[in-house]
Amino acid sequence: MTGTRLYWRLVGISIRSQMQYKVSFILQSLGQMIVTGGEFLGIWALFDRFGTLQEWAFHEIAVLYGLANVAFSVADALTNGFDSAGYLIRKGEFDRVMVRPRSTVLLLLGYEFTVRRIGRFLQGAAILSYGLVVSSESGAPLGLVGTAATLLWAIVGAVALFVGIRIIQACVSFKTVQSIEVMNVFTYGGVYASGYPFTIYVRWFRMLFTYGVPLAAVTYYPALLLMGRLDPGGAVRWIGWVSPIAGVAFLMVSLVIWRFALRWYSSTGT
């Protein structure tokens, strides 16, 4: 069985397992929707009080926020196996992954497809749709197909980026379990930060999330195209069509790091 087919098989099994606990699934999905909704309420309240965020309007923040949350919820659903790596190692379960004649990445991706993340996904998608509709009414130039294609490409890049971050997080958890919360800076912190235009941040922060962990490349620049405006920082207009590739590149790098981490794991026997 090829890797892809095995992956879908594992995903199917994981979904069926989760559906054995339907009440819990529905409550948790709803819960995530409400919790993330509470978060957006804060943004709304600030706009209600201040009117604008520098030169940015509410619906533009909605595009950024929605894009980041949609992408993160997908990545979050895909990577529970990596997110739980520390736990799996402590329980000795990771050894079971190691005695299978398959790629460890494939097996960890197939460990669970976390369906309840649909809560964040739907909430993000609703806000994103609102932002896109208002943007198009105020004259965003892409049209339906252009918007869809740009959006899809941005989401692919952003999901790849977040998956990459989770893989690196798992590498860190080989070494230390207690300090793993720091990685939340790049996952939850990353979503939070990319809910706003990167121009409002200070320089080093922008640099970190443009060149280090290229969040801006997968959310901010493509979002500019979607809302039909130019970067106040002076980047060329088409950059948003190219930049999501940075997320894919980041994923590739994280896979290389994963290989080294595995070797480290097997030589230290954490």
């Binding site: 948790q28 709803l30 509470g38 309420l41 309240a45 965020l53 207690q178 720091v182 706003y196």
Partner: protein
């Protein structure tokens, strides 16, 4: 007399407190994470203030300080149900606990306070150092935590923060007590998490919510956890009003605790009856 009556609860508090202090690596990680979230929030707020320059109820530096205080004391908030309590109630093991010669609601309350205050303290000090000292030192006064309005304000802030953690522990206890009635406890978790997030002041400073919403905030107990101490620290609560604010916190702490007590009493009777 009073001392000897309180002894088991103080001992319980001290034991939980010490055990919480052991998670040092986690505390460092938490400090870094919370400073990060603080920085983002602060930059966002500054951007809002710059654009508008309105007559908001808080000045920019007050808002910024409010955010830093919120990050420093974040762990006081009852975001999550105590997993041990949850399991005890859901499995019915609570029956054994009821057999002990202690007043159950109070020992759980002591545990709730210890579990919040100890890790919050551990994380608060390095964060204060960062936001009050390091930020101005590297030339970032604009987003630094301002010193307290006065020495007296600082003292009253500490008192108020302690009262705030009592209110938080009582709210956490009520949330846990609802587990006697719900199967999964998810509903409670979600509700508490959302309400606390929106109404405690960690999402955005409470005074920045729309004016029409302020009466609702003032009528509810959630602002008594963080917002009351913060406004005392910042001096936005008039000196003459501080006494009333502290009394209000005390009222909520006691009132909510009594409510939790009643709920636990009712709930545990259910368990005993069901357990036959």
């Amino acid at each position: 007399m009073i001392r000897s009556a309180a002894r088991p609860y103080l001992a319980f508090f001290a034991a939980r407190f010490r055990s919480q202090l052991q998670y040092r690596a986690a505390a460092w990680a938490g400090v870094v994470t919370q400073i990060f979230f603080g920085l983002v929030s602060v930059m966002v707020l500054v951007a809002f203030y710059r654009a508008a320059g309105t007559d908001a109820p808080l000045t920019q530096s007050q808002s910024v300080s409010y955010v830093w205080l919120g990050q420093a004391l974040l762990l006081i908030l009852p975001f999550r149900l105590d997993p041990e309590l949850r399991e005890m109630i859901q499995t019915g093991d609570v029956a054994y606990e009821l057999a002990r010669p202690v007043f159950l609601p109070l020992s759980w309350f002591a545990r709730g306070v210890a579990d919040r205050v100890a890790p919050a303290l551990l994380r608060a000090l390095p964060q204060f150092a960062f936001s009050m000292l390091i930020l101005p030192w590297i030339g970032w006064e604009e987003i630094a935590l301002v010193p307290p309005a006065s020495a007296a304000a600082f003292g009253l802030f500490l008192v108020s923060a302690v009262l705030g953690s009592l209110v938080a522990a009582a709210i956490g206890l009520i949330a846990a007590a609802t587990l006697f009635w719900t199967i999964a406890g998810h509903g409670t978790s979600i509700l508490v998490q959302t309400i606390v997030w929106v109404l405690s002041g960690v999402s955005i400073p409470l005074p920045l919510y729309p004016e029409w919403f302020q009466p609702v905030i003032r009528a509810l107990p959630f602002r008594a956890m963080l917002d009351t101490p913060f406004q005392i620290y910042l001096g936005t609560t008039e000196a003459s009003a501080v006494g009333g604010e502290l009394l209000m916190q005390l009222f909520w702490a006691v009132g909510l605790f009594v409510l939790a007590w009643i709920l636990i009493g009712r709930g545990s009777r259910r368990v005993v009856v069901q357990g036959g």
